[in-house]
């Protein structure tokens, strides 16, 4: 009896230790790598300056779409903006801006001052829609293709290297 009880305890303990061991090896840093290859959801979004609703399904009309999550109050967004403006000159790619938790007037002021790289600007005033894209903070940028499949996802501001990478991806 003692043998059996202790044996069972030993097995249970081994199991727990094994789980802890694998737990140690899993990545704890926020990572959305697994989203690459999956499709984005079809979601209705309000447009910032037009009184109509836009569905992400419409993005199938573009060869490639870069979805950029930004806000006027976000410092790093300011930093990456010039790269977006540069990218917007490329014909293969359309940039959809999703303005997050922002005031409309402030957002427009930002665009007026910094330039408008977006072919459409949607508004996610309370930040709930962006969750469906796996976005927690801004700026984040998602590159999708015609089938709405995510090809690349950037957390934080994009830089010159990222621009090169994006351009090479959309020219293939």
């Amino acid at each position: 009896m003692k043998k059996i009880t202790l044996g069972l305890v030993a097995i249970a303990v081994s199991f727990v230790i094994l789980i802890f061991y694998y737990g140690l090896k899993t990545e704890k840093i926020y990572n959305t790598e697994e989203l690459v290859g999956k499709s984005i959801l079809e979601i209705d979004l309000k447009l910032l300056n037009e009184n109509r609703v836009f569905n992400t399904r419409e993005l199938t009309n573009n060869d490639f779409t870069l979805i950029n999550f930004w806000a006027s109050w976000c410092g790093p967004c300011r930093k990456e903006h010039k790269h977006l403006v540069y990218l917007s000159k490329n014909k293969n790619i359309k940039i959809l801006g999703i303005n997050l938790k922002d005031e409309r007037s402030q957002a427009n002021k930002f665009i007026k001052k910094m330039g408008n790289p977006y072919y459409l600007i949607a508004s996610d005033h309370d930040g709930k829609k962006s969750i469906h894209f796996g976005v927690y903070g801004i700026p984040e940028t998602i590159l999708i293709n015609k089938d709405l499949t995510i090809i690349k996802k950037y957390i934080g501001p994009i830089d010159g290297q990222d621009v090169k990478k994006i351009l090479s991806l959309v020219s293939e």
Partner: protein
């Protein structure tokens, strides 16, 4: 320079452990002429080495010697002296050194306080203690060296996380470590006792003091941590079921169970194996808690720098500990003598206490580690919060409270008929009080009302017991009465607090007034002050109560620390015996508005007082044993 000296002391202390094990082993083999003096002196020398290593690190912090990576990463020249000192254990490496210091101190104290016990038992315990000491030293040296150097030496340090710069948090870790590490002694005692077939009664006598000491400090440590969370985190809560809080609560449940069942062993020579299991489990759970907190496997407010190699080391250490204990138990555990006892005898109540504690333990343990299991097995992320704990634990508090009112006065072995009439009248009184309470407050939650009834019942019963036994000078009885009374009050006030807490959250500009149900809040002014290592924005809030036309002023702060650049929100709390007014203020970027969180938290001071009363019971017991 400091780095070399520190490492030298650490190595010397580790070496002492090897010698202590060697001398103890040879001491066991010798029938007589046991080298007690030699071992004691070596143990003292080890204590001095270990303490000196701590002093070296302390000097590094006090004089801001940034040649030590640890000081550079966690301190700053402008930090007040008090926080330079507490900064020593405000990080992983330093706190591990403190942990080892306590471990060595306890081993030494065990040796000199138990001179008269059986030699083999004493030496075996010492061997196990030193194996633990070596294990922790290797952990320190290989993965968490507080004496690592940095070159070129930086001019300035990075600073200590401002939320850790708090008096309560300066004493919270040392108190908890006294509890955690205290349990190492009875872990070693239990293994030694199994091997040398020591008799249960004497084992209980030796172990009991350590159980009491660790329980006392663990209780205080949890309390101080809770007070810190209340004052510093700015959410107005005092217990969050955070995995790290849980890791301190789990050993506490075991210590509480042990505290009770060890009495049965001491008085009745019963439950020997159960007590041994609890003793081993308590320290094992303490180390498991350490693993959960420091490996980074869980995410919580207690962020230690995460390093998988550390986690791996503790995991290996933990596995060795558990499997060796299992083996020793398998090899040496004697057959338990079956001695019966009646229903409602003292043994019955103590065992019931133990089952409740184990139930609480399992609930909290599952809540803490289940998210890890789910993520590994099903790749799903979940977070388990207070609804889970409250739903499962709360109903079981009711029978526990009722049983607790009888335990201390029950007789050993046999059932002592209680005066049913008296018990029933107290029960009716408690129910009557709650009916009046419901009439006035319209509080309809049945569960909370039942908890209130049973806590009032426990309070009245225990209070009457205290009055009855006042002239007897029975200190062990007083100890349990105080702790049980404290527990009754704790549950009572927590329940009332949960019913009557009020919270309002709104945005306001300077000069604006906000009307709420029975009061008006005005943000009158905002002033900026410069302190030694931070700037603070102090709001002046006027609260006007319509009910009695009284006015109260509160001054919540927004602090901007220089090193590291961090913003913290200091709650302003007006506290009196019956209620706290709790206000935090935060700025809203790019606007003139400030977010105000206004809370009324009743009975907070009485909650703290109840917890102190619980610990006080343990203190009486320790004191009584010392005097004896």
């Amino acid at each position: 320079m400091l780095s070399e000296v520190g490492i030298l002391f650490v190595l010397a202390s580790t070496l002492s452990s090897f010698f202590l094990i060697y001398f103890s082993l040879t001491g066991i083999k010798r029938k007589n002429n046991f080298p007690y003096k030699k071992i004691r002196n070596l143990s003292l020398l080890q204590l001095i080495f270990t303490n000196l290593s701590f002093v070296v690190l302390l000097i590094g912090y006090i004089f801001s010697d940034f040649s030590l990576v640890n000081v550079y990463e966690n301190s700053h020249t402008t930090k007040p002296l008090f926080y330079k000192i507490s900064g020593v254990w405000g990080n992983h490496e330093g706190s591990l050194l403190l942990w080892i210091n306590i471990l060595v101190l306890f081993s030494f104290l065990f040796l000199i306080k138990n001179r008269t016990v059986d030699k083999k038992f004493q030496l075996l315990t010492l061997i196990f203690q030193n194996i633990l000491i070596i294990g922790f030293f290797i952990f320190l040296i290989t993965t968490s060296n507080p004496f690592s150097k940095i070159f070129p030496v930086p001019q300035e340090g990075l600073g200590l996380n401002p939320i850790l710069q708090d008096p309560a948090l300066a004493i919270h870790p040392p108190l908890l470590y006294l509890g955690f590490v205290g349990s190492s002694i009875y872990f070693s005692l239990a293994l030694a006792s199994l091997i040398c077939k020591f008799d249960g009664k004497n084992f209980a006598r030796v172990a009991k003091t350590w159980v009491l000491i660790s329980w006392f400090f663990q209780s205080l440590g949890i309390l101080v941590g809770s007070i810190w969370a209340y004052y510093e985190l700015g959410w107005g809560g005092y217990w969050f079921w955070d995995p790290v809080e849980n890791s301190s609560l789990i050993p506490w449940f075991l210590m509480t169970a042990l505290l009770h069942s060890i009495l049965v062993l001491e008085k009745r020579e019963n439950l020997y194996l159960w007590v041994i299991v609890l003793s081993i489990l308590t320290f094992t759970m303490s180390v498991t808690g350490t693993f959960l907190v420091r490996s980074g496997i869980l995410n919580s407010v207690h962020t230690f720098a995460n390093d998988p190699s550390r986690g791996l080391y503790i995991l290996v250490f933990l596995s060795i500990m558990i499997f060796s204990s299992l083996y020793i138990f398998y090899k040496f555990a004697p057959k338990e003598k079956k001695t019966g006892f009646e229903l409602f005898s003292k043994e019955f109540f103590i065992l019931t206490n133990n089952w409740f504690m184990i139930f609480f333990l399992i609930t909290v343990l599952i809540g803490t580690i289940y998210p890890i299991f789910l993520e590994i097995i099903a790749n799903e992320k979940i977070s388990i919060g207070s609804p889970y704990y409250n739903t499962i634990l709360a109903p079981f508090v009711i029978p526990l409270l009722l049983l607790m009112s009888y335990g201390p006065k029950a007789n050993w072995l046999v059932y002592k008929p209680t005066r049913l009439k008296k018990s029933l009248s107290i029960l009716f009184l408690s129910v009557f009080l709650i009916i009046i309470f419901i009439y006035f407050t319209n509080q309809k939650n049945i569960l909370i009302n039942l908890i209130l009834v049973s806590s009032i019942y426990l309070i009245i019963q225990t209070f009457l017991d205290l009055l009855k036994n006042l002239s007897k000078k029975n200190f062990p009885l007083y100890a349990s009465i105080f702790s049980h009374l404290g527990f009754g009050f704790l549950i009572f006030f927590i329940s009332l607090n949960s019913i009557f807490s009020v919270e309002h959250d709104f945005n306001i500009k300077i000069g604006e007034k906000r009307k709420l149900e029975n009061l008006e809040i005005t943000l009158q002014d905002l002033k900026i002050y410069s302190e030694k290592n931070y700037k603070k924005f102090v709001g002046k809030l006027m609260i006007f109560y319509n009910k009695n036309n009284s006015v109260e002023f509160l001054n919540p702060e927004i602090r901007i620390y220089d090193q590291p650049k961090t913003i913290t929100y200091e709650a302003s709390i007006k506290s009196d015996v019956l209620s706290d007014t709790y206000v935090t203020m935060s700025n809203i970027s790019r606007s003139d508005f400030y977010n105000i969180k206004f809370q009324k938290k009743p009975f907070m001071n009485l909650i703290w007082f109840s917890a102190i009363l619980i610990a006080f019971g343990g203190f009486i017991r320790v004191l009584e044993r010392r005097i004896k």
